[in-house]
């Protein structure tokens, strides 16, 4: 009798648990080179969430140029979370889409950027053009591969890193910085729409002498192709790239996925989330994990966008909006 009672209790408990369990699907709309990061992270989060709540969560991924992805969300792509390349693109979800509050960046630590990255050079084995720093890539005869800043977040970081270097070198002479960046884009034979496309151009199509790349993208390319194909060159100065994340409030409220979406982003800051980021060559913000992976990342003199450009809004308006400096130099 006792066995029967115990058996029934187990059965009822199991039924009760199963009855309460739900299946949830989220859409993470991200920028180009985060495919591998979120493949790993989604699996880890699903396991964590299942253990915590009993719910099964499936996270779908969408990748493309950051600016393009932001426009897609504003135009109706129902992203539960957006993990884009730069804050300006996320701002568009607030300004143009009215999908998130204006102060979205204050909702999570480190201005809602759970990991950072920077811009480095990827060159062919043996570095045949002897590229060491920014000055080398504006020399005549050097072909530079970088995506289009109009559509790609990574490309805007590339541009701003080059501009910051030129400013420092010329003691903040804007005209010289403009001349420097103009020369850089004269050396760019083709502009892809996103960072992954630019990597394809450089690596698979064999075009160009140097790829201006996200640090994580450069590491990944080196890992996949092998050190006998490409080398990473670290410039003397680069920029801290802070890819931010946010829940898309109007969508999560509509889908009733706010709790799981917020947990999904919070877990990026956890020990496990940070470790996965580091393993995918993103610089972790959690000190314990950053220390552990310290040797993996080269030491670079890094500037911040707020310090040099006055933040993303100012940088966007001056350089990348229609009629901005990029249009002036690339139209030449």
């Amino acid at each position: 009798m006792k066995k029967i009672t115990t058996g029934l209790s187990i059965l009822l408990t199991t039924l009760a648990l199963n009855a309460g369990a739900a299946e949830v699907t989220l859409l993470n709309v991200s920028y180009d080179p985060t495919r591998e990061l979120y493949q790993d992270y989604n699996a880890a989060f699903a396991k964590y969430w299942k253990a915590k709540t009993g719910d099964t969560v499936t996270v779908k991924q969408s990748h493309g140029g950051s600016g393009k992805q932001a426009r897609a969300i504003v135009d109706g792509l129902e992203a539960d979370v957006a993990t884009l390349a730069l804050a300006y693109d996320v701002d568009q979800l607030s300004e143009k889409g009215k999908l998130i509050p204006k102060d979205w960046q204050k909702r999570l630590q480190h201005n809602s950027s759970p990991y950072t990255s920077t811009i480095v050079f990827l060159v062919r084995k043996g570095n045949p053009k002897k590229i060491k720093d920014w000055d080398d890539i504006v020399k005549p005869g050097v072909a530079v591969i970088t995506p289009n800043p109009k559509t790609s977040g990574g490309a805007r970081w590339n541009y701003l890193a080059a501009w910051a270097y030129a400013l420092k070198k010329s003691n903040n002479d804007e005209a010289k910085a403009k001349e420097f960046v103009t020369q850089l884009y004269k050396n760019a034979p083709v502009l892809d729409t996103g960072a992954r496309g630019a990597t394809t151009t450089f690596v698979e199509r064999g075009i160009g002498d140097v790829l201006l790349a996200w640090e994580n993208e450069a590491f990944l390319a080196k890992k996949e192709l092998g050190p006998d194909k490409v080398e990473i060159v670290v410039p003397s100065l680069s920029i801290v790239a802070e890819p931010p994340v946010t829940v898309v409030d109007k969508v999560v409220d509509k889908h009733k996925t706010r709790a799981v979406s917020e947990a999904y982003l919070s877990y990026l800051y956890s020990e496990e989330g940070q470790t996965i980021a580091a393993q995918n060559y993103y610089r972790p913000t959690l000190e314990s994990v950053a220390k552990k992976y310290d040797s993996q990342f080269p030491k670079i003199n890094l500037v911040k966008i707020d310090e040099v450009f006055g933040g993303w809004q100012a940088a966007q308006k001056k350089h990348f909006n229609d009629g901005g400096i990029f249009d002036q130099i690339y139209g030449k």
Binding site: A143, P189, V190, D192, T193, G197, R205, I207, G208
Partner: protein
Amino acid sequence: MKFKTKHIITLLVSAGVFAASGSALANDSDELEKLRALVQELDQKVRVLDRKNELAEEAAATKKKETPIVNASEKGFGFKSADGAFEIKLKGLIQADYRYFNQGFGGTGINTTNTPAADGFLLRRIRPTIEGTVFDKYDFRFTPEFGENKTTSNSGIVDAYVDARFTPWFQIRAGKFKPYVGLERLQSGADIKFVERSYVTNALLPNRDVGASIHGDVLDGKLTYALGVFNGVADGGDATTSADSNQDKDYAARIFTTPFKDDANVLSGLGFGIATTYGDVKGTAASTNLTSGYKTDGQQNFFQYAGTTIADGKRLRFAPQAYYYYGPFGVIAEYARVSQEINTAANAGHKTVDHDAWQIAGSYLITGEDASFKGVKPKNAFDLDNGGWGAWELVARYSELNLDEDTFKNAANTAFATTYASRITSATSASSWTAGVNWYLNPEVKLALDYEQTSFEAGGGGTATNPIDRKDERAVLGRFQIAF
């Protein structure tokens, strides 16, 4: 492009090799280096051109996904957004008819002239239609009428409605439209098998009404339902778009099932259901709220209430209905009964009259196309150059309308009289045989030729107690139609 690239590079490398050989002979390593650099430079230029082409193709493919789609084909005319959420369709229906009467009563309204109705051409339906969708779920349709019906409907608007498809099982339609009642009525005017619909449809059941319906499909589309509330129209009536002249509303309900629609067997084309309408209708001498008359296939009135007879209470209709399609064969069967309370404007006496009608119609596509409730798509369009003959269909129908004898009696129903309707001028029943052939030149163009013969009881003169039967109507009805 890659083929060209390889050839250019091969040529250049070969040139380099030959040049290098020459240079080696001359010990001129500088020359060799220059040629190698040149080859590399050209190789890069070709690769860049290749990649630019590739990116241009990707951009074009992306743009295509966002570019509105314009359609001008046998599927119709229109345009829609790339995701299909917004769409406009331009449709049209033109029916040019010819009616030839060999025998029958002619003239307008109820008449006793013993001469056939006038032969002649007429434009039965001229209906341009704008149909569309906004935000994926909200459809609309607007159809004005410029044909014969314009004069009978008191309104140039045939359809004007909005349909919200919230889910397949819960949709709302509001405006002026066909109430979900009669089966043959719900078949498009372009798809009907005969030049004119049967008595069930044209005489007793509502044509179009102004109101709102909740409707939808359940059980994987095997059961459709509809519930509606309308201003209410008289038998065979087409509502005007103006305000309701009668404060009470009509209610309509219908269920229809196609239980085997997903099966691949002999019953997959079977559908059946039942519909009903109910209303409480009061008429006045100025607006009787009764039918203006029942008509033959040749559109000749053979029954009309007396001018002083008015609707005076409940009107209940019910209509069981079915169709069956199997290969080229099709059949549609429908019955309708209307129970109507009437009186005279001077209150001669209140009574209830029950009229009923039924039809059974068969069709057979001799060119082998599949028959269906919707139109016919010929296997081969008519084409003199390439030898196509379109689709040919034979059709036949029997249809009957029987009026309640009490309609023609006095208030106490004790003797025949002309108080409510006259047997001298109005027939008490009509029975019609119709046979015809339809030639579908292509999915949009159709030629139809019907012969119909209608026999009547009473309505051909005499007296109220001893009426004479009206002469049979024999008519040939022809139609040339384009519907897109």
